[in-house]
């Protein structure tokens, strides 16, 4: 499944950087369509959302945004995971993370929505530290470590010259696994209403209602946020749920497969 990552990365790179344009009315084949346009509409073959944004554009932006959030989380988590994993492995300790979604949701509630990326990074750091610690403990059992100790090597020397270089080959697989885990957490948090980005409200109605209908539209949503928002209207516009979900599953499986492949190597 890892081969799907290449086209998805291409889609992410080719996504419009400025966001998807909104259209109040869609001109399609000489007809004027009020959004949401169904799939098959000329000019918007995958349809549009209720705000007239092209679904193809939204999905491409969603892939880009998801990858961006996951990579940011990974970059923040990796140095902490390495240090924490080294420490835990050296001391022979372990760290468990039970019911991590509750922990992440609790931290976001405590620190505020602005801390979303940092909270995810913290969770991922603990998750990856456990993998690093296992590797450190395996390396510490090797005969060359015993030899280095017998030669009078200090703890610092053993850690930096012998243990750390043996961690670098496993880093790519840990990173791939980490991105997959970040995607899963993003999806579960999105169902609970916790997102990386915010959105805007759109009001509908003929102007005669006492209270106009309001609908939340995510601004530059990632795939998890798109799925979480579209699930309320999946019977009316199934493609708004199906396409982001498909892209999300492919991304998750692709990174899981890449991680498994790199681990086997």
């Amino acid at each position: 499944m890892r081969w799907v990552l290449l086209p998805l990365l291409l889609i992410a790179l080719l996504a419009p950087p400025q966001g998807c344009p909104r259209q109040l009315l869609i001109q399609a084949g000489g007809q004027t369509v009020v959004p949401p346009a169904p799939p098959g509409t000329p000019g918007a073959w995958l349809g549009t959302d209720v705000d007239g944004r092209d679904t193809a554009c939204l999905v491409a932006r969603g892939v880009r945004q998801s990858l961006q959030v996951a990579l940011n989380v990974l970059l923040l988590a990796l140095p902490v995971a390495l240090l924490l994993g080294l420490l835990l492995g050296w001391r022979g300790l372990t760290v468990g993370l039970y019911a991590e979604i509750f922990v992440l949701a609790g931290l976001i509630l405590l620190l505020g929505n602005g801390a979303y990326t940092w909270v995810l990074a913290l969770g991922l750091a603990v998750y990856l530290a456990r993998l690093v610690a296992v590797r450190v403990r395996t390396v510490l059992l090797e005969p060359f470590i015993e030899g280095a100790r017998a030669m009078g090597g200090s703890s610092w020397h053993i850690l930096t010259r012998h243990v750390l270089p043996h961690l670098f080959p496993v880093l790519p697989s840990a990173m791939a696994v980490g991105i997959g885990v970040a995607f899963l957490w993003m999806a579960e948090l999105a169902v609970l209403g916790y997102f990386a980005t915010t959105g805007y409200w759109v009001e509908f109605g003929s102007g005669f209602e006492n209270v106009p209908m309001r609908r939340f539209m995510p601004l530059n949503p990632d795939l998890a946020q798109m799925i979480a928002t579209a699930r309320f209207e999946w019977l009316a516009a199934a493609e708004q749920l199906f396409l982001p979900a498909l892209a999300f599953v492919l991304l998750t499986l692709g990174f899981a497969d890449l991680g498994a492949k790199l681990t086997r190597k």
């Binding site: 019911a99 509630l109 979303y116 997959g180 609970l192 915010t198």
Partner: protein, 273 residues
Amino acid sequence: MRILLALIPVHLLVYLGLRQRELGEAVSFGSVLGGLLGYPLHLWQTLSGGAMAQFLVGLPTTGVYFTLAALLAWPAILLLQRAPAGVRWLLGSLPGFFLLTLAIFVIFWLAAVFRFFTPLEPGQPWVIAVLTLALLLPPAARVAQYLELRRQEYAGADFTRTARAIGLSEPRVRAKAARVALPEGVSLLAGEAFGLAVAVMLLEGLLQFPGLGLSVYNILASGGAVEGLNLGVQMPATQASGGLLLLLLMAGAYAVGVEALARRLDPRQRGVV
């Protein structure tokens, strides 16, 4: 006991978060300290029944999904061990959330094909069956995958080669290797109990099925990221965290039981490290 103690920091964090949202101000040292100091009393009051009692009514409904999924995971693991490695990998890697969504589609499809329209209610046996299957497949596939890897590893271990050398038949050698791998797989299933609790919560939240899971979903979703898009129901933090504690205790009790079973199944001599 170790697992149950590990649940306290989880509960504490969510309690502090809910309390902070209730205060409606940015986090500060004073507010966190106040929450920390008040937590032991709050935990005692919650455990002594005050805040948990109102959620007990939802426990049986959620308990049905959780217990069925937890119990049926065992035969599912046995079946999945015989399935192709690709199937195990796919089911284990798929987000449980999507399997649940797929299950909902299947339920609607079944209703359309067999021409009986019944509202999607939690008590219907076929709804329970499909949703339970969606809940149990990802953890069962992960455990089956792990067990199979371990079994293969033990099949090539020194003690297995010795067993072959002294004349044990190949099926018996394989059975012994699987038996040695079993405690680790069972132990892994204990860790999956919390993932299962989260999946049940999301399932009830997505379908709005009444139960303990829906209560916890509402509590957590009430603090959502967007102002005005509160998916859940606001309630005081002291009450709300009682629901979460009950859900955690339900999963924790299962995990403790499975851990004890894993220790019992361990063929190594007890008391020897």
